[in-house]
Each structure stands twice: as C-alpha cells, then as structure tokens.
Symmetry: C2
DNA sequence: TCAAGAATACTAAACGGTTAGTATGTTACC
DNA sequence: GGTAACATACTAACCGTTTAGTATTCTTGA
C-alpha cells in the first residue's frame, strides 16, 4: 500500500533534513550545529524540523543510524564472494574511497570523538558499529587462517583492532592535512605490512613488495 | 629578579586556569565547554578568566601550546641516546602510557577533530604538531635505513604516516571502548608488524615474533 | 617612614546575542 | 472538513564578554 502523496512528501522531507543534518554535524559537530542552521540549509523553518523530529537528539540519532547502515552496507558489499586476503584489501579500498570522495566522510569520526563522555546513546551506537566492524575483520582474518592463507599464531582480534586503528588514524590525519597525508599510500602500506605479517612462513618470501624507489635514502 | 609575590600569584592562577581548561576541553570539547564551567571548576568567577585571557580562544590557544609542548618533550625524551629500532618502540610505549595514565590524554585528539573546519588557528597548531611528529618518525626510520637496521626500499615518510595512523586510531578506539580495545596489545602488534616489514631481508628470519597462543583458530 | 596613587587580581552584575524548544496559526492536499 | 506539513512568534536558558567595583600589594615622592 503506497503511502499517500502527502505522507510520501513528508518522508522525503524527513530524509532531506537528515542528510542536511549529517552534513552539518560532520563539519560543525553536534554541539556546534544549531537547529536554525539545519533549517536554513534545508530552506525551511525550525518548526518543520520539530514536526519531523522530537528534538535535536532525535535528529542526531536518525543521522547516526543512517551513517552506520551506509558504512556497514558498503563494507559488506566490498567483501562479497572474494577470499579473505582480497577482502582485507577491498575493505581498505572502500575506506579510502569513502574518505576521499564519499558523502559525509567525516561524520562518524567527528561524532565518535565528540560523543565520548557527552552522549551515551550516540557513543553506544558508534561503539556497537566499531565492535561489529572489528568482529567482521577478525572473522575475515580467522577465515584466512582456516584456509591456510594466513599464519595461525597471531591473535585475529588484535590484528583486526590494528587494521581498524590504521584506517581510522589515517583518515583523521587526511582530514586534518589533506595536502601532506597521502591517504591511499598510507593505508596501502599498512595493508602491505599486514599481509606480509599474516603470510604463512612458507610464503613470506613470495610477497615481493612492489614499492616505488621513493624509499631510497635521501638526506633531509 | 623574582617576580613580585602578587605577580607570581597571578602567574600561578593563569597556569591553574589553563590546566583546568585543558581538562574541560578534553572532555567536552571547545564548543561544549563554557567559561562559567571553567571558572566554577577553578573556584573563581568568569571575570577572573577574562583578566588573564583576552577571550575564550586565547585560553584555548594557551591550552593547545601547553599540550603540544608536553607531547613533543615526551617524545623527544623517549628517543634520547637509543638506536632507531628501539626508539620506534619507545615512542609507541610513550603513547600507550600517556593514553592510559597520562594527564589529559584526550585533549589533542578531541581538539584536532573539532578544529577541522571550525578553527583555523588551532588546526594550524595541531597540524604543525602532527607534521613535526611524522617528520620525526620519518627521520628515525631513515636513520635506521642508513645504519642498515631497516631496509632501503620503503618510503620512510609513508611508513611514518602509517605508524602515526595506527597510534592515533588505536587511541581513539581505546577512549571509545576501553573495555574491549586492548591498547597495549594493539599498538604492540602494529609495531611488531612494522619492525618485521622494515627488517632488511637478511634479518627477516631472525625476527621471531613472540605471540601468545591466542591466535589459535577459534570458532565464533 | 608614611601616605597617596598605581597596579594587580579578582568579584558581582549586567549586557547582548544565540539556542532549543513550544504554542499557535496557516495552507494545500486528500 | 480534516490533516500533514509546514511557518511564525515567543519563552527560558545559556553563553561570551564587558563593566563597575573591591581588596590587597607595590611604588614613589615628600
């Protein structure tokens, strides 16, 4: 049963408001984004926002849900039908793409940091997301271990945490300093390191890292 | 010539206010910290803050300077008179210690993220700090390459960026989820990976990773 | 030495602006 | 006619900053 045209319009408005809120929260944070700002950007008044959302936090929680879902769908899609080794690289690539050209790349990091100590509900949502992501990566690594692609004597959970750390940290540095922090190379090097480290002993020699000659020693 | 007692008292008050501000900014961010809150925590009135600092941002810049200096001193001290290989580990240890038991561990990350797009002057200060840190790590790696401790075919700058990413990302995850993210292990694993990756080919076999047997494959 | 004036470190209150949220009114669509 | 999707006008609270004032210490000139 299709919703009435008017109700459909309301749903579109609600979604539009959520998108604009995501944009504002990404850049100015929750505390630094006023309802008036969001309303102005959407071309409506504050009253319209309160029609659709109970309060400011309700709007934030809608934004967080949207971003968490989008992220998890993207990661899931990147890993379908490929082996764990390729999947690790694929997840890294998705994160690079999202950070460089995605919509609202900074939302999650911005809100994650801001919510620590100040918003339990948002912290919980984003902590859940990170836990699921780390578990997902851990399972990938374990799967690779089972298939003999990765060595067995490494704690998959710690390796997953390390992967997540590198991606997260590289993104922050990139947002902070896009001129100097080459995101693709940084994450790429990390993944090479990890793959090299995870490789079973018999294969460690086969991984011939294809680095460009920038690594040559240069005087500073 | 010692400052007059009254002037010395003023200097102590100014420093105390800065410390309290650092604490508040770490937890609530710049935008989320009111002057009234800092004043209350210090047991003075808002006017006293304006006596010592021109405005709120002046107070923030004092806080940023304090933290940047403290961080850089700590890193410098950790690397004195030791070889590049040990120094890499030492820097990682300093970061772990600071995150777990240091004073105001979250200040830099909190303000770094918040300042992107909203405060050019703070962004510049913190970007400068991060650039200096990456350059410092890059120089460590290059020094190791010159001494034959590390392989030559890896771009030291990218490796430094990768190191920084991992430390930064691990800290954020730890602040967000201290129950689940084992900071020492996560950063420790990263450093092992890096050392393994940086090892010259002739020595790659000597690095026998001492991992505990938690890495055994476990069903989920 | 002493007193007047200056300097320092504050306090209490006020100011002007911003913000989240609420109550009520309006309009176009069903 | 009823209602969803708004707009407008308003309130209370918060916020950064300023102002007028106070207490104490320091300095300087007589």
């Amino acid at each position: 049963m299709l919703p009435q045209a008017r109700v459909a319009k309301g749903q579109r408005s609600r979604l539009e408001l959520t998108k604009i809120a995501i944009d504002c929260f990404s850049r100015f944070g929750y505390r630094g984004t006023s309802i008036e700002r969001i309303a102005r950007a959407a071309g409506v008044t504050k009253g319209a926002i309160y029609y659709h959302f109970r309060d400011k936090e309700d709007l934030l929680l809608a934004a967080v849900s949207d971003r968490v879902k989008a992220f998890e769908n993207r990661v899931q899609a990147a890993c379908e039908d490929i082996d764990p080794s390729r999947a690790l690289r694929s997840v890294a690539e998705v994160c690079v793409k999202n950070a460089c050209w995605g919509d609202h790349p900074r939302f999650t990091i911005r809100l994650m940091v801001e919510a620590i100590d100040t918003n339990d509900r948002v912290s919980e949502q984003l902590r859940g997301m990170m836990r699921r992501f780390r578990a997902f990566m851990r399972n990938l690594i374990r799967s690779g271990q089972r298939q003999g692609l990765f060595r067995h004597d490494i704690d998959a959970e710690t390796a997953a945490a390390s992967f997540t750390s590198s991606v997260l940290g590289a993104e922050i540095q990139f947002y902070q300093d896009p001129e100097r922090l080459r995101l693709e190379e940084t994450i790429g090097l990390y993944v090479d390191q990890l793959m090299n480290y995870l490789a079973p002993p018999a294969r460690a020699e086969e991984e011939n890292p294809s680095q460009d000659s920038k690594g040559a020693v240069i005087d500073d």
